[in-house]
């Protein structure tokens, strides 16, 4: 004969969760193959390499989470709309025959990429208490939605009769053609906190890019960018994502909608 307690335990072994998360992310671009429009004939070609900056621009994401829980393990699908940002710059110097004559230009580019992410995760919860730490692993596929580049040119001109330091207003251009869909792996952790009939969740995940985010066929397709000397490198991107949210159970213990332990 089944006891009430064992029936409850069996019930609590299995649950569906549906909820919403949102948060911020930081990105780290990793160039795989470098390209440049500028081809020097009297200085080192390495000077045309872009200098990438990591984890310096905050992006954001919003996630719909659907999780199936069974005995501490969960399978979770978390479709996400994500905006990621990172920056890089090039610096060039031209010098002349007259003493001190020269021009230094710095091209700073801010890249913004919008993706629809499709992550699939396996989670493991370490306890059955109200506060439940968990780890999660999985993979994601990112579908490119939009991309823009903002270019700011600054520099020092001491070839026009004096020293002139300037910084132009950024020019933002569409850059969707330069990028494509990509995929990666996810590792992370967090805590669930059961509050009444609702589960609050905080998680941190690291997205490790496994494929090139650049569209190799359109590297030079954007006249506006190639016109200022910019060619898209082959890139992988890693992301550090922080999210908070709340989840709602879809199975209930009794008519008073009690669903949690």
């Amino acid at each position: 004969m089944k006891t009430k307690g064992s029936a409850t335990e069996r019930f609590l072994n299995k649950q569906f969760w549906l909820g919403f998360k949102a948060g911020v992310n930081l990105s780290s671009p990793l160039p795989q193959v470098r390209y440049s429009v500028l081809m020097p004939n009297n200085y080192d070609a390495a000077r045309t390499n872009k200098t990438y900056q990591s984890f310096n621009k905050i992006g954001g994401q919003a996630t719909l989470e659907v999780t199936f829980y069974y005995k501490g393990f969960s399978i979770s699908a978390q479709p996400t709309y994500r905006t990621s940002r990172f920056t890089y710059f090039n610096e060039y110097t031209w010098t002349g025959g007259t003493a001190g004559q020269g021009l230094n230009l710095k091209f700073e580019q801010e890249q913004q990429l919008d993706y629809a992410d499709l992550p699939l995760l396996v989670k493991y919860e370490f306890s059955q208490n109200k506060l439940r730490p968990f780890v999660q692993f999985g993979a994601y596929y990112s579908i490119l939605v939009n991309a823009t580049k903002g270019v700011t040119v600054s520099g020092t001109d001491n070839a026009s009769g004096g020293i002139n330091t300037f910084k132009n207003e950024p020019v933002v251009v569409g850059a969707k053609d330069l990028f494509t869909n990509n995929w990666g792996l996810i590792a992370g952790g967090g805590v669930n906190y059961n509050l009444g009939n609702v589960r609050l969740v905080f998680d941190v995940s690291y997205h490790l890019g496994m494929s090139n985010i650049a569209d190799v066929k359109n590297r030079y397709a954007n006249d506006r960018l190639s016109g200022i000397g910019d060619a898209q490198d082959d890139l992988k991107t890693n992301h550090l994502m922080f999210s908070v949210g709340c989840l709602f159970p879809l199975r209930f213990l009794s008519n008073d909608f009690k669903s949690l332990d």
């Binding site: 795989q32 193959v33 390209y35 429009v37 500028l38 081809m39 020097p40 004939n41 009297n42 200085y43 070609a45 199936f68 399978i75 699908a77 060039y92 110097t93 031209w94 010098t95 002349g96 025959g97 007259t98 004559q101 020269g102 021009l103 230009l105 499709l118 699939l120 993979a139 596929y141 070839a159 020019v171 494509t180 869909n181 990509n182 995929w183 496994m210 494929s211 090139n212 650049a214 569209d215 190799v216 066929k217 590297r219 030079y220 397709a221 006249d223 506006r224 190639s226 016109g227 200022i228 000397g229 060619a231 082959d234």
Partner: protein, 408 residues
């Protein structure tokens, strides 16, 4: 539930596998690229003239290099500059042709897999030289062929065509030259009596070849009916002259207006038609399927055509024909007032516009030449002004796919 999870994992696996195909694609990088060839010296200016593809898939660029002397001094014609790139457009090597050779005709000629250009000695005696360039971008051979001031050059089968100015004899001379430097045929045409005026066309031609004045649209070629033609100074104006290189007088002439009007480019099409363009006191007109009367004198100003106010005054125009997916297209290249390079594609059968494409943004760009490539792409050679001020060679390779999108 198990089925749903299996389906989710299977779907994610499939899309991940499909995205793995986006790895580095060297073939795509060969088919489509943009390159600016930079020098960190503030006082060096480059002027590209022409480009040709080598058998290794790379490219040879013929150009000029000017060292700007900050404190002035004598103005000398620029040094001839040859640059070699690989098939990706990456810089490999360059060469400043020795000092005594200057004033190249702006054409790098490919005949039987070898590369040639004409230039002139400037030290002790003035004489036109035929230069052979190796695939690596070095001078392989130099032959003295005589004459002065090379203006334009072209290819006629396995021979070369040369247009030059003979100021002493007051002639514009068109020659057919073998690749070993022998003059196979030549005919001179009178540029008109000297009147000592300050705007004489021959003065403009001299300033053109010495690069001390505006560049004039000199060219040579051969019609599909095996008649030769050139655009040069004839009868005291910039004129397109049709000749068989036998008769003393031209077979036909399209007369310009001094050096202020005339044809700016010409390409012979099947059926006796021509793709051409003309300029007239700054205005530009395109005639993609013109029926020129080559057996009688005509005036360029009476040819009509589509006005192109977007082009820069007296714009440089280049015309080539290419096949895009087995479809014939005539491509016009020119410079816009907005400092872009404009490409217009026309159907040679009826002269209708098939499409257009504009190259360049932010920096200024000026067209030098259009050259088809072995993979049915198109090379657009030009000058860009890096940082808005440094004239540098730029090379755009447009893929066959990109041409199809723009001009089919």
């Amino acid at each position: 539930m198990k089925k749903l999870i299996t389906l989710l994992f299977f779907s994610l696996g499939m899309i991940i596998l499909s995205s793995c195909a986006n790895e580095a694609d060297p073939e795509a990088d060969k088919r489509f690229f943009t390159k600016f060839y930079d020098n960190s010296n503030f006082n060096i200016a480059y002027t590209p003239l022409d480009v040709a593809q080598t058998s290794d898939g790379g490219y040879l660029v013929l150009g000029l290099k000017t060292v700007i002397v900050p404190d002035g001094g004598d103005v000398e014609p620029p040094v001839i500059y040859i640059m070699k790139t690989d098939e990706f457009g990456n810089f490999i090597s360059d060469l400043d042709v020795p000092e005594g050779l200057r004033m190249p005709a702006p054409a790098l000629l490919k005949v039987d897999g070898k590369f040639y250009f004409f230039c002139q000695t400037v030290n002790n005696s003035q004489s036109i030289q035929l230069m052979e360039v190796s695939e690596a971008g070095t001078i392989a051979q130099q032959v003295d062929i005589g004459g002065t001031y090379p203006l334009a050059a072209g290819v006629d089968g396995s021979s070369l065509l040369l247009l030059n100015l003979d100021l002493e004899g007051r002639q514009t001379i068109m020659s057919k030259v073998s690749t070993s430097g022998d003059i196979l045929n030549a005919k001179g045409f009178n540029i008109g009596a000297a009147d000592g005026g300050p705007y004489a066309p021959e003065s403009a031609a001299l300033e053109h070849v010495q690069r001390t004045g505006p560049q004039l649209p000199f060219y040579v070629g051969k019609t599909t009916n095996n008649l030769y033609y050139f655009n040069g100074i004839y009868n005291y104006s910039l004129s397109t002259v049709f000749t068989d290189l036998i008769a003393d007088n031209p077979i036909g002439v399209v007369q310009g207006s001094n050096n202020k009007g005339g044809l700016s480019a010409l390409l012979s099409l099947n059926g006796g038609k021509f793709a051409t363009s003309r300029f007239n006191y700054g205005d530009n007109y395109i005639l993609p399927a013109a029926a020129l009367s080559i057996n009688s004198p005509t005036k360029s100003s009476e040819l009509g055509g589509n006005p192109f106010p977007e082009l820069s005054p007296n714009a440089t125009v280049r015309i080539i024909n290419i096949k895009i997916d087995e479809t014939d297209r005539v491509i016009y290249g020119s410079n816009t007032r907005g400092k872009q390079i404009a490409l217009f594609g026309y159907n040679p059968a009826d002269g209708t516009l098939a499409g257009s494409r504009y190259i360049g943004f932010s920096n200024s760009f000026e067209l030098a030449s259009l050259t088809p490539t072995a993979d049915n792409g198109l090379l657009v050679l030009g000058t860009t002004y890096i940082a808005g001020r440094f004239p540098r060679i730029c090379l755009f390779k447009l893929s066959a796919e990109a041409l199809g999108k723009s001009f089919q």
